[in-house]
Amino acid sequence: MNHEARVGASGAVAASLLVAFLIPLAAFAQDNGPADFNTLRTPSSPAFVLLGVEPSSVEKPNTPSDFAASILSATSNLSALPKDYALETSPYWLFSHRRKSWRDDINRNVLESVTRTFTLSVATAELGTSDAPVRGLAVSGRLSLFSGRLQDSSVKQIESLENVLAASAATDLGVLAPVFDSILATLLGSATTMADSLAALAKFDSLKTEAITSLASSGAIETDTEELTQQAEAIVMAREGFQVDLAGGTAWRAPSAALDSTDFDRFGLWLTASYTANDLSFIALARYLGIDGTDQDVLDFGGRFIYAQDRFALSAEYVDRHINNGPGDQWRLAGVFDYRVSRAIWLTGTFGRNYDDDARGSLLAQLGLSLNLSKKRYAFEPTEP
């Protein structure tokens, strides 16, 4: 069943669809057969995919010092490999960018795209047994060479939110300013020297804080942030246009769980290119996987075209698997038609050819109904690996 194809009436939805990463993390590890389209996309954290783990908690440091502290603490000052550790960090976002407005991110050039999207992931996991422990370590990087542009609908949402924030600030000031003026008049009225004035100013900040706290407690100024937070949550920072995501990672095995005992295990490269405009979107992807001890490196590639309207969506996808020194290519070609019967019910038809043409059932001809009980109108679920 193709949950993507049914998504949507608009370019916004189609773009969300393209940037969503719905890859089951174990998909890469389960590399016994041809993969579904979604599992081939550039993953958000390739290191986790390489190890085939889904960390219960991922450390995401906010500052360079947090980053260093996390690494040093987890590795006992770089002397050992932690058992279950996952870290994800974007160097660009470790630093403040005071001069950058959200409007500076509507469009990105290649350099801006690379710096703002580069993410480093590190993961370790126990891959052996209690008798023969083997510590797995994976390191990966991910970036977008092209990021498209922020959708107009997202821009309008943020502009609307900012106007609400400005109006809310004005309402606060209507109450606070007379109080502040009164406090300042008293404090500065008795100041005769510059030193007095500076002391008065320091005291003013304390009294101002007390006044805000008091007025907030009494309800005289608005402090209920729930509505604003909901508005912020409702903003979809969706991007459209030409986007190219690139990722690569390597995994090692360490039989003695020590850093100096690691051996190469596998590596992977992902490339996903997509274009979204209005009701149309196209996505092309490739994944290359090399595993130590085999001479059968695997290259998967494919493409998907989606045309989405309010009540229906049409899509077609092609996926091909090529194995070096292996059997011939395996491929899948399918067309999917989704029709919205009611708000929560979709009729889906899939037609085409499945992977192995020697196997029974290689001809795809499925028709089914599906329920979308999600709170959100266009919610889609991970595709099964």
Partner: protein, 129 residues
């Protein structure tokens, strides 16, 4: 400067002198940084002005109007709209006085989509030549 969480919302509270000539034409620029969303209003001589949603080289006092000895209260509200960071920052820039001056502030909101409030008061003091 004081940073205090009030009802779960971090407030950055500060005040500063800004040196002006008697009839300086002071302009205000407010920049909300770190790619976040924010809006600003200020109050000067009993009049509240709402930003659109912020200010760029906005004249505080009308031409040939005395600004020395007056006070301007600014409030900026910033919402975290970026999944990449919880940092927020606001830079107030005053021009037209004795010299142009920037007043940068920043605070991290405790959770995703959190709100931060910046409350900054500027006192325009006259500096003779």
């Amino acid at each position: 400067m004081i940073v205090k969480e009030i009802n779960g919302v971090p407030h950055v509270i500060d005040s500063a002198f800004y040196a002006v000539r008697r009839n300086s034409r002071v302009t205000l620029t407010v920049e909300v940084g770190d790619f976040q969303a924010g809006g600003t209003a200020y109050e000067w001589k009993g009049k509240t002005v709402t930003g659109d949603p912020n200010f760029t080289d906005h004249p505080v006092n009308p031409a040939k109007t005395k600004i020395a000895g007056t006070i301007m209260h600014c409030e900026s509200k910033v919402l975290d709209i970026r999944a990449d960071t919880n940092r927020t920052s606001v830079t107030y820039t005053l021009k037209g006085g004795v010299e142009d001056q920037e007043f940068p502030y920043g605070v991290q909101v405790p959770s995703e989509h959190g709100l931060a409030v910046y409350q900054v008061t500027f006192i325009f003091v006259e500096q003779a030549t």
